[in-house]
């Protein structure tokens, strides 16, 4: 070995320059090159094989491409004794391609009936172990052929889904073909008949472990005749005649373990089996309602035998089986695993027990029956954690899935049981899960990632996951070529990206890029992975910095592609939400415009507002609302048919969730910023639904509706429509009684636009015969509106401060008035020149509108407001100062108008000074 290495190195040495730092080694036998580049291909063969064995098939394949020797080594039989095909849809073509590797294949895991059909094409005649899940559609014919082609088969497991199409005929076939069978576990067969079981007993002398789980009927008497049985599970099987069982099964001479979980076994049968069987050591009866319902049942205490149920101490029960043990409580499993395994019978029993326990716990977790809280906290969670450390991969997987499942309270609303989640965390479960996630086994990776995802709904767990390095692990799993792994990892990143805490870390770990790549990788199939990737990106995009990363990674294109092409509603919803969040940063980054410029983006979102799914409509409307911030987007949305679509949405959302109502009104608010859109909205019939939404009790809904009506009312035609549709009482109501100051403010401004005179001219021109009656009714509305506008202004006018400000010109007095009048959020409103001009001309209005206009201009120019400077400039251009001075000095004007006008003047001076400083 060493000589070969030396020779290779000398050959290499000629080709490469030796770095200075290592010259002292030059004469020495150096097995590696010293310039940092190592020729890994000169590793010893056995080490290369060890390396391969730490990797999954894909990494093995890429490693095998390094050189010819490695390619040969990668085909070594010892690397191909076990194959997990679950992540792939395996058909006969693929199976034939794999056949050359499968000569010595011992273990096979597959998923689905189609893969089952392909198994024979692997030509793996030495297969000992076949495990399949999702086998609902697997048929007798398929199973019989599998049995016939693999006569060395020792272990066959199909489940946990019900194999509904398998009958006793196939079981008989297995018995005939596989004389070496030791383990047979099948789930969900309708009727396991006596002749099939008898065939097993007759032809399979080594059959020690049988499970007929969740079957409808099993021939108890025949089972009692299979003398070789050591372990038997009929968990979940119904229609068992327990009277017969207790008289037959105790005669099974070798029976060590019996599992009757989830069955309707009663105390009498349990006691009798425990007492009268000579060999029985463990009777597992988890989740047996009859047994648990009997308050008088006393567990028979027999040395060397244990009943394991929800109401017994399972750890203690197991401990008592070890005669020579010093272990106590929870350490029994670990001690057993670390022991030298001298007791073959105990090892077999513990291995079996781990398997059936993982099965039963997962079932309990899935069904989540009431009243198990105590069990889960004290026994279930610790057991799952211990099972995660089992040496059986499928037990580990089920335990991780169990952890993912038992914390779920409400699937729809993604809520989990805090106590259970924190119990997992307390017992070191996060570390264990992350270790599993790091293993090369993809089944473990995906189940562990799923558990991490679900548990991370709890903020404390999320924090622990982040602290233990989980974000890096999930980000790397999200890059997995295995869709199931990537999907669960994306789910984990989704849950961790909730809130502000971990967004930065996810971006730093390369998570953003990984998630965007997922969308491209699985764009043509895989709703689960796409939904989770888009959901995670949506959360991340809520953060300004992360949203830039999303855009940088090509996220805009990816998400728009989903919004356009994907047919799954869950994906559409998350993609729209992600686009909404990307566009939510206004002018602080360029994403808003970027989304709008992406081909087909706005059209797709407009289309999605017509989705039959409420969530999709809501998020699409939200996205359009945010996107309408940008002037060009606003016009583009309108020309993509956005006005019609959103009016239609507003018209049909009267019974929808507040979230949808808010966004529908919000999108119309955003669009109506331009008067052309505003006119279109009025023409399409948008006024009536907005008035209806303005009547909503939900603050967010009526606030946005008030905003939309305010914008619409700028146009006299719309103003008239609002009056005609009964909008005045609705706005008056908002203006006087909403809990939101903003809603009150915008309702007042809407009313002010409506009654500052422009509508009257419009109404006179537009009508003929009934004009008199209309004018009369308009007069009534005007009086009502003005009365409430006045009341609104007075609400923000502190008498004392006003008197002080009137009698003194001290800045402090005015500042106090400003403080009392200020509406914080109004600083976000941005007005056009036309709107500012309108308020300025309103200052000349003799009625209360004079005060209202001054009040509005005050809000829009308060120093520090987001658009204050912009408004100040517009006012300067319009020559507002002169009008304001006139208002402030007018003898007849109300006190509020005069004081507010003075404050606005001061604001303008302030901005002027600021901007001249800037120059």
């Amino acid at each position: 070995m060493s000589r070969r290495l030396r020779r290779r190195v000398s050959r290499k040495g000629k080709e490469k320059v030796v770095a200075h730092g290592y010259t002292e080694f030059e004469e020495e036998v150096s097995t590696s090159e010293r310039n940092g580049h190592v020729d890994w291909t000169c590793l010893p063969d056995d080490t290369v094989i060890q390396l391969f064995s730490c990797l999954n098939y894909r990494d093995r394949a890429s490693l095998a491409s390094a050189c010819k020797t490695w390619r040969c080594l990668s085909a070594s039989p010892c690397l191909w004794n076990s194959l997990d095909l679950r992540a792939h849809r395996c058909d006969s073509t693929m199976a034939s391609l794999l056949a050359s590797r499968c000569m010595n294949l011992q273990k096979l895991r597959f998923r689905g009936a189609e893969s089952a059909d392909a198994i024979i094409f692997l030509q793996a005649r030495s297969l000992r172990e076949i495990t399949g899940d999702y086998c609902r559609k697997i048929t007798d014919a398929t199973l019989s052929v599998i049995a016939a082609r693999h006569e060395l088969l020792e272990c066959l497991q199909l489940g946990p889904d019900f194999c509904e199409r398998i009958t006793s005929d196939a079981v008989k076939q297995i018995a005939f073909c596989c004389p070496k069978l030791t383990k047979l576990r099948l789930s969900g067969i309708r009727d396991v008949q006596g002749d099939a079981i008898n065939a097993l007993g007759k032809h399979c002398p080594h059959l020690t472990d049988v499970g007929f789980l969740d079957c409808l009927k099993v021939d108890e008497v025949a089972l009692g005749n299979v003398a070789s049985l050591r372990f038997l599970s009929v968990a979940g099987t119904s229609n068992v005649k327990w009277g017969v069982v207790s008289h037959v099964w105790h005669k099974l001479p070798n029976l060590v373990g019996l599992d009757v979980s989830r069955a309707d076994v009663g105390p009498a049968a349990v006691s009798r089996l425990l007492i009268s069987s000579q060999s029985l050591k463990v009777l597992c009866a988890l989740n047996c309602p009859v047994l648990e319902g009997d308050a008088n049942f006393a567990v028979p205490k027999i040395k060397g035998k244990s009943l394991l149920a929800h109401f017994t101490d399972i750890f203690e029960g197991i401990t008592s089986l070890f005669a020579d043990t010093t272990s106590k409580g929870k350490t029994v499993f670990l001690d057993w695993r670390n022991s030298k395994k001298t007791h073959k019978s105990m090892d077999e029993m513990m291995t079996w027990f781990e398997w059936i326990l993982s099965h039963s716990l997962l079932r309990s977790a899935e069904n989540n029956p009431q009243g198990l809280d105590d069990f889960w906290l004290k026994q279930g969670a610790p057991l799952l954690l211990i099972l995660m450390q089992s040496s059986q991969e499928d037990v580990q997987e089920r335990a991780a899935t169990g952890l993912a499942t038992f914390v779920v309270i409400d699937d729809e609303h993604a809520s989990i049981d805090r106590g259970r989640a924190e119990a997992v965390m307390r017992d070191g479960g996060i570390r264990l899960l992350l270790d599993l996630a790091k293993s090369w086994r993809e089944g473990l990776q995906s189940e562990a990632a799923k558990a991490i995802a679900n548990l991370s709904v709890n903020v404390n767990v999320a924090k622990a996951v982040a602290e233990e390095g989980g974000i890096d692990i999930l980000a790397s799993l999200a890059r997995s070529m295995n869709r199931l792994v990537a999907e669960e990892a994306a789910g984990g990143l989704w849950n961790l990206s909730v809130g502000e805490e971990h967004k930065g870390a996810i971006a730093e770990a390369g998570g953003v890029k990984a998630l965007v790549d997922l969308i491209f990788k699985w764009s043509s199939g895989g709703d689960g992975v796409l939904e989770r990737a888009a959901g995670a990106l949506a959360n991340l995009a809520a953060d300004d910095k992360c949203s830039m990363e999303v855009a940088l990674a090509g996220g805009v294109h990816a998400l728009v592609m989903l919004a356009r092409n994907c047919k799954f509603e869950g994906v559409q919803e998350q993609a729209a939400r992600a686009l909404a969040n990307l566009a939510a940063h206004g002018d602080s980054n360029g994403n808003n415009a970027a989304v709008g410029q992406e081909v087909g983006a706005l059209e797709a979102l407009v289309q999605l507002t017509r989705s039959p799914h409420e969530g999709v409509r809501q998020e699409a409307a939200g996205a359009l609302w945010n996107l309408s911030f940008d002037d060009r987007n606003r016009e583009a949305i309108a020309s993509a048919g956005g006005v019609e679509a959103l009016v239609a949405l507003a018209q049909t959302c009267s019974n929808a969730s507040p979230g949808l109502q808010e966004r529908a009104a919000g999108a119309l608010w955003g669009l109506s910023v331009s008067e052309a859109n505003s006119v279109a909205i009025g023409r399409e019939g948008g006024v009536a639904p907005l008035i209806a939404l303005a009547r909503s009790d939900a603050e967010d809904v009526h606030e946005t509706a008030a905003g939309a009506l305010w914008n619409l009312a700028f146009n006299p035609g719309n103003a008239l429509r609002i009056v005609e549709e009964g909008g005045v009482p609705a706005l008056v109501h908002l203006c006087s009684s909403s809990v939101s100051k903003m809603a009150r403010f915008m309702a007042a401004l809407a009313l002010a636009y409506m009654f500052d005179g422009r509508m009257d001219e419009y109404a006179l021109v537009g009508t003929s015969s009934e004009s008199t009656s209309k004018i009369v009714s308009l007069d009534g509305s005007r009086r009502m509106a003005l009365k409430h506008i006045e009341a609104f202004i007075l609400m923000f006018s502190d008498r004392q401060a006003f008197t002080a400000a009137a009698s003194s010109s001290a800045p402090a007095a005015l500042a106090e008035v400003t403080e009392g009048a200020r509406i914080q959020e109004a600083g976000h409103l941005r007005c056009s020149g036309a709107e500012i001009g309108r308020f300025i001309s309103m200052l000349k209005n003799p009625s209360v509108l004079k005060a209202c206009a001054a009040f509005a201009l005050l809000q829009f120019t308060i120093p520090g407001g987001r658009h204050a400077l912009h408004h100040a400039k517009l006012m300067q251009n319009a020559g507002a100062a002169r009008v304001l001075r006139a208002t402030a000095a007018a003898a007849t004007a109300p006190l509020e108008a005069k004081i507010f006008a003075r404050i606005v003047l001061r604001n303008l001076e302030h901005h002027q000074a600021e901007s001249s400083k800037g120059i």
């Binding site: 036998v29 590696s32 580049h37 190592v38 990797l55 050189c67 670990l334 679900n454 295995n482």
Partner: protein, 163 residues
């Protein structure tokens, strides 16, 4: 320790290291040499440089010390120590490579496991430039898997686990 006998190991570049027998016999190769009475003088290790031998000895020492105190907390500590020992940013590829060869030659299973796992992790994380050129080869299920993955029925069943 029952035996405090010292063993001298000589590296390929001639440097001598004196270690306790218990530490030396972590290496199955050395153990066999001692059993065969070949260890009267210094044991020459022509395939291991002094730099690498020092690291190997450091590793064995730690593991011998750890095995004296047998409890589970210590197990965790040892794992952490191993992780730090082989940390990517401290051990360059050349050292890692030499450590693997040394572990293989000296037959120290736990060190071989550790180093191989480290390389495997690097491969998984794509931190490992095997070769730039992609040799012309026919075997690779990786290439095919790209087309094989496809949506199948079980997606519907998984809803219960969804977050």
């Amino acid at each position: 320790m029952a035996s405090s006998r010292k063993i001298t190991l000589r590296s390929s570049d001639g440097e001598s290291f004196e270690v306790e027998e218990a530490v030396a016999v972590e290496s199955q190769t050395i153990k066999h040499m001692i059993e065969d009475d070949c260890a009267d003088n210094a044991i020459p290790l022509p395939n291991v440089t002094s730099k690498i031998l020092a690291k190997v000895i450091e590793y064995c020492k730690k593991h011998v010390d750890a095995s004296k105190a047998e409890d589970r907390v210590n197990d965790e500590d040892l794992k952490a120590w191993d992780a730090a020992f082989i940390k990517v940013d401290q051990v360059d590829q050349a050292t890692l490579f030499d450590l693997i060869l040394a572990a293989n030659y000296l037959n120290i299973k736990s060190l071989l496991d550790l180093t191989c796992q480290t390389v495997a992790d690097m491969i998984k994380g794509n931190l490992f430039p095997v070769r730039n050129e992609w040799l012309n080869f026919t075997f690779s299920i990786a290439n095919r898997e790209l087309v094989l993955v496809c949506l199948t029925e079980w997606v519907a069943h998984r809803r219960l686990f969804c977050s």
